[in-house]
């Protein structure tokens, strides 16, 4: 069975093994024992609340309890951009109009910004190919929203997730070729590698500071602004289901979209509910709307330090959820404990 849980000291080796299986597109999980160990230490301290909220980095692993193997990882960073500037392009609109000539031109513009400084970031999602079936991807990605709903006081109101930008099959990034290359004069992969190892001050030094009209870029660069890499499209949809939106911020190198949400407007904040573990009674489900019967539920415990989450078929009714014994064990819970529940998939307003 699969459980998503707070990472622990003892997960380092298994994490390293998994990282060797990550493709080149993920820059946040390089198979480097030193970097990984440092990050794990921060994660453990985060769950233990021994470092301030803005420095925290909550990492979650998905464990296959049958084999003890790690099946995936994901993370929430408390705040980005507070030690090194966090850059994005923001897409804005400028209207150039002249009544005299009856010309009205609406131009998209790119502004180099650090607007997202301080935001909470969803990042480092990776699911091992062996486990890319069924609802596993959803479980891993969405665990973070349930965690946030349980501990909203730990996070800033602004939540973001950077999505890998569009690349051609050859790996060419039309946006980088149309813009960044003129200023960085090096290959995309090289720039990408530099930012991954924290060498970021060159961005301030080499990027054009002045707002840019998108119309100056080649067509193929214009077209991919805000477009995700093909392999990232499913991940994007999952986040959008939870209330995250593309609000006009993109990566400065590949123009991949940043998805954003207000924490208070997340589906998990609005719709997740607490329930006590208890016995099911026949009568309790009488008033439940038919449409949601038998829908899979995300269920987590309510402990920060030992946060654990599973997918269950049990439905909470009037504040009681009848979790099977095995699931209670996965959550380190027992009858009478409180859990947080959320339907895996969003419900539609029937209005």
């Amino acid at each position: 069975m699969l459980v998503v849980r707070a990472i622990q000291d003892t997960d380092l080796d298994a994490l390293y093994v998994m990282a060797t299986q990550v493709g080149s597109g993920m820059t946040t999980l390089k198979p480097d024992m030193k970097m990984m160990g440092d990050r794990l230490n921060i994660a453990v301290a985060s769950f233990a609340e021994t470092i301030p909220p803005e420095q925290r980095d909550y990492m979650f692993v998905m464990e296959d309890t049958d084999s003890g193997r790690l099946a995936g990882v994901c993370a929430i960073k408390g705040s980005v951009g507070l030690t090194e500037p966090f850059y994005n392009y923001r897409i804005g609109t400028l209207v150039h109009s002249s009544r005299e000539l009856d010309v009205f031109t609406r131009m998209d513009t790119l502004y180099l910004s650090n607007d997202l400084t301080g935001s909470t970031e969803l990042c480092s999602l990776f699911l091992h190919p062996d486990y890319r079936t069924g609802n596993n991807g959803k479980l891993l990605s969405k665990c973070r929203f349930l965690f946030i709903a349980q501990f909203p006081h730990l996070f800033t109101e602004k939540l973001i997730a950077e999505m890998r930008g569009y690349q051609e099959e050859s790996g060419r990034s039309p946006f980088y070729e149309g813009l960044g290359r003129h200023f960085f004069k090096m290959d995309f992969d090289h720039v990408d590698a530099l930012t991954a190892v924290g060498k970021k001050s060159f961005i301030a030094e080499l990027m054009p500071r002045q707002p840019l009209y998108v119309a100056y870029l080649p067509d193929d660069a214009q077209e991919v602004i805000g477009k995700v890499h093909t392999s990232t499209a499913p991940a994007r949809r999952l986040l959008e289901q939870e209330g995250m939106y593309f609000e006009g911020y993109v990566d400065i190198f590949d123009a991949g979209p940043v998805l954003q949400a207000r924490v208070s407007e997340l589906r998990a904040m609005r719709d997740s509910t607490l329930a006590d573990i208890g016995p099911a009674t026949d009568g309790d489900s009488a008033c439940a709307p038919e449409s949601v019967v038998a829908e899979p539920m995300l269920v987590s415990n309510t402990t920060l330090k030992d946060f654990r989450m599973i997918l269950s078929q049990a439905m909470p009714v009037n504040g009681i959820v009848a979790l099977p014994e095995a699931e209670q064990q996965l959550l380190h819970c027992r009858s009478g404990d409180t859990v947080r529940t959320l339907t895996l998939n969003p419900r539609k307003n029937n209005g």
Binding site: L94, H96, S97, S98, E100, L101, V103, T105, M107, T109, G178, L179, H182, F183, K185, L194, K199, S201, F202, E205, L206, P208, Q210, P211, L212, Y213, A215, Y216, L217
Partner: protein, 344 residues
Amino acid sequence: MYVVRPVELADIAALEALSAVPMPGVHTLPKTREKIRAMVELSIASFAAHVDIPSEEGYLMVLESQDKQIVGTAAMFAAAGSNGTYFSFRNDVIQQVSRDLNISHSVHALTLCSELTGYSQLSSFFVGEREHGTPEAALLSRARLMFAVLAPHRFSERFFVPLAGVTDSEGGSPFWDALGRKFFQMDFLDAERTIGGARNRTLIVELMPHYPVYVPLLPGDAQAAMGQIHPSGELAFNLLTAEGFEADDYIDIFDGGPILQAHKNSLRTFTGALQRRVATSVETPDRGREPQLRYAVSSGSEHDFRVVITHCPALESQLSVALSLDVQDALHIAEGDTVICVRI
């Protein structure tokens, strides 16, 4: 002897004939009789005016050949954009240095600016084919600046000259296509017609880019056109750069053509102008061995300004210049008057 002199009403027909010669760009002679007349009248009024500070005056001079034909024109406006703002693109070079990466390079950007507002503007330079490349062409170009030497209060301390940029055979401009078209949503020639060649209109602020244009982002043909002159402007370009004008700082916002500019202290006409008393030249055997130099010599009157070429020994160490009676006649001056002389 060729004479440069202020335009007169009687020249209108001749100017109209000249303006029929096809010329690219907008910095040349007006094309219609009405506009030519307006320009001539402005010039006559301007030469006659008593000016305290440079304003809307425009001066048009003509080059008259030995047989009294008008074979060239050259104009000067006291203050560009005087009824608005004169817009141009400034060539900015942004130095980029990265300590981490140990690299440094320059990025070229164009910034819409109004710095040329209030400069005096030279324009409408044209000479007939026969005079192309002759000292008389140089005389005509320089005569304007000699007038400014004579009457500095009529002009700014700085001067500029926009020269027509490159266009293709259909009248399209690659620079315009990459830049202005995106904002104006019309063809180059339509835009120039709409705006009447002006560079001082409010609609330029409304429509043109508010932020610098990074040149590396422009298509290759637009970059190649930046600062390039239309072939027809080569003579003017050569004369002006020899005069001391610099071409690298500004370009035209529409066609990307070069705008030459200079402080008057950098111009040869200003630094080399000599005021000399007029003597009547006679055969002087003792000076015959001195080499004869070519000078542009102008009358010293703001209201009857005339310039011709003469040859005489170096004037630096002399108090007077010996001019033949012919030359004195051509300049409407007499012995004892003061003239301005510049090596040419």
